[in-house]
């Protein structure tokens, strides 16, 4: 279908028609009462929140959680990880409100409200971060499938094929359901955790109490702390969820379900993250330093402890995490590109109308995939720093989100309440503090030992 001219002189596109079909189903479900109608409404409206949260449980994140369990055990980090997901809910909820209130993507709003100077800064941050992260997703996919003896080029092309297949329908709704189905496999880490035979009383105790960080403050512990924060709150999530909320067609009336979607996604993702820490914790009992482990090495190291099935599930989980994140992250890049260049940007677009959107999406993924296939590149460094870079880039991104969510001119009554602003402020301060402490730990590694000695501990 081409574009039609509406009665108000506005152009009506294929994208509008598809979105209207989706909204028609939502309105039909909303017109009914009872549990089944509410369940159907939830089914129709969930998507961006679950996808963003499970998408952020990506290759480097799951490896970071596994390194956490293997290096530090579960005592400090289980409640810490749950806390990071609470932070993610606070942050992502703002993108739901922004998308539903303005019907515009995050990059678009920054450009239009604050001008291209700050807009380009944000989009360049996003583009660099996304590309580095995409590389790590393909590293994870390659390493995960490598555990089963799959050659790297087959692994990488398989992932690209899945990404391409998800786009073939040229329909947001179908893309979302296909990606949600793939993302559900993130929960594969739960059976792996069970196979690790943890002492559930200890797990419960770790979650209920917050034990001190084993080994105290050090450069390694800060790196892991930052990696775990970067595994849950990153700039691409802001851009993706707001754009997906707009593409899905959510309105002010759907914000309650958008919040539910976000909380549900965070709950599922935190369970998978906690399960991954537990799954790798037997390595902690065997005093293995696993901070530089890749996916296949984790699976191989875990095999004697949790069995071949458990190790295989772990490797498959890393592959799934990489594929889903590659889909969502490359989509967030394509949305942002379309928004700032004012070219059509929607998963509802047919190929002929969304050439630039689909080209950016596929080129980002293909470029990252190609880099992974170059022999001899020190890719392990990229995996180690990608979550750290995400945390460092988060405060500037959060300030724009904060300003937009408090912009009465575009948000009207949906501006952030005071409690949300206080929480956001606390998150920004926490992220900056964590970043600065990490910087101190790198530039002056003995500082923490000196301070602790000075304090007499």
């Amino acid at each position: 279908m081409g574009m039609l001219t509406g009665s108000g002189g506005l152009l009506i596109t294929h994208e509008d028609i598809d979105r209207a079909h989706d909204r028609q189903r939502v309105l039909a479900a909303r017109g009914k009462r009872g549990f089944s109608a509410s369940a159907r409404l939830l089914w129709l409206l969930i998507g961006p929140g679950v996808l963003v949260m499970l998408g952020e449980n990506d290759g480097p994140s799951m490896l970071s959680y596994a390194a956490t369990g293997a290096t530090f055990g579960i005592s400090f980090f289980l409640p810490f990880i749950v806390l990071t997901f609470v932070m993610a809910i606070v942050v992502q909820e703002m993108t739901v409100r922004l998308g539903a209130a303005t019907h515009r993507g995050h990059a678009e709003l920054i450009f239009e409200r604050f001008g291209p100077f700050w807009g380009w800064f944000s989009v360049i941050d996003l583009g660099i971060g996304n590309f580095l992260t995409l590389i790590t997703e393909f590293i994870a996919i390659r390493a995960g499938l490598g555990y089963f003896g799959v050659p790297p080029w087959v692994a990488v092309f398989t992932a690209l094929a899945v990404l391409y297949l998800a786009l073939l329908t040229h329909r947001y709704w179908t893309w979302e359901r296909v990606t949600l189905a793939a993302a559900a496999f993130n929960l594969i880490f739960i059976p792996v955790a069970i196979l690790a035979r943890p002492h559930w009383g200890t797990v419960g105790h770790a979650l209920a109490t917050w034990s001190p960080l084993p080994g105290g403050l050090s450069k390694d512990s800060f790196l892991i702390l930052l990696s775990n924060i970067g595994a849950t709150v990153t700039p691409w999530m802001l851009f993706f969820q707001q754009s997906a909320t707009v593409d899905k067609g959510l309105t002010k009336h759907d914000i309650r379900f958008g919040r539910l979607d976000t909380v549900l996604g965070a709950a599922l993702a935190s369970v998978a993250a906690v399960a991954t820490v537990i799954a790798a914790s037997p390595l902690f009992g065997h005093h293995m330093n696993a901070q530089n482990f890749q996916a296949a090495e984790f699976a191989q190291a875990l095999e004697p402890l949790i069995g071949r099935v458990g190790a295989s599930l772990f490797a498959l989980g890393i592959v799934e995490a990489g594929i889903v994140a590659a889909i969502t992250i490359s989509t967030s890049s394509a949305y942002a590109f379309g928004e700032v260049t004012r070219k059509p940007h929607s998963l509802n677009l047919p190929l002929t109308q969304g050439r630039s959107f689909y080209a950016v999406l596929l080129l980002c993924a293909a470029g990252a995939a190609a880099i992974v296939l170059i022999p001899g590149l020190p890719l392990v460094h990229v995996v180690l720093v990608v979550n750290v870079v995400a945390v460092l880039a988060m405060p500037p991104a959060l300030i724009f989100l904060f300003m937009l969510a408090n912009d009465k001119e575009i948000m009207g009554e949906l501006v952030s309440p005071r409690w949300a602003n206080m929480l956001t402020g606390a998150i920004v301060i926490l992220l900056i503090t964590a970043g600065l402490l990490f910087g101190i730990s790198v530039l002056a590694p003995n500082t923490f030992a000196f301070v602790l000695r000075f304090l007499g501990r």
């Binding site: 081409g2 001219t5 509406g6 009665s7 800064f121 067609g249 004012r342 059509p344 990490f438």
Partner: protein, 71 residues
Amino acid sequence: MSTTEIPGGTPGFESQELLAVLEPGQLTGAKRAQLPRRYLKGPELVVLWSLRLYLFFMIVVVIYQLFAGVD
């Protein structure tokens, strides 16, 4: 991009009824109109530039960590 003009300048009745479920701001055509620019004030610019400098500095730290052999 191809444009199909509907006789009389309006989409068919069926399409109009369908499109009525969208809020006006959701239509692609409506999004072509830019939102008014909001000029940043002094304190906002100070915060934004401070965070920009923080990010540049921290990226240098990360690069230093990677390439200066700080393990």
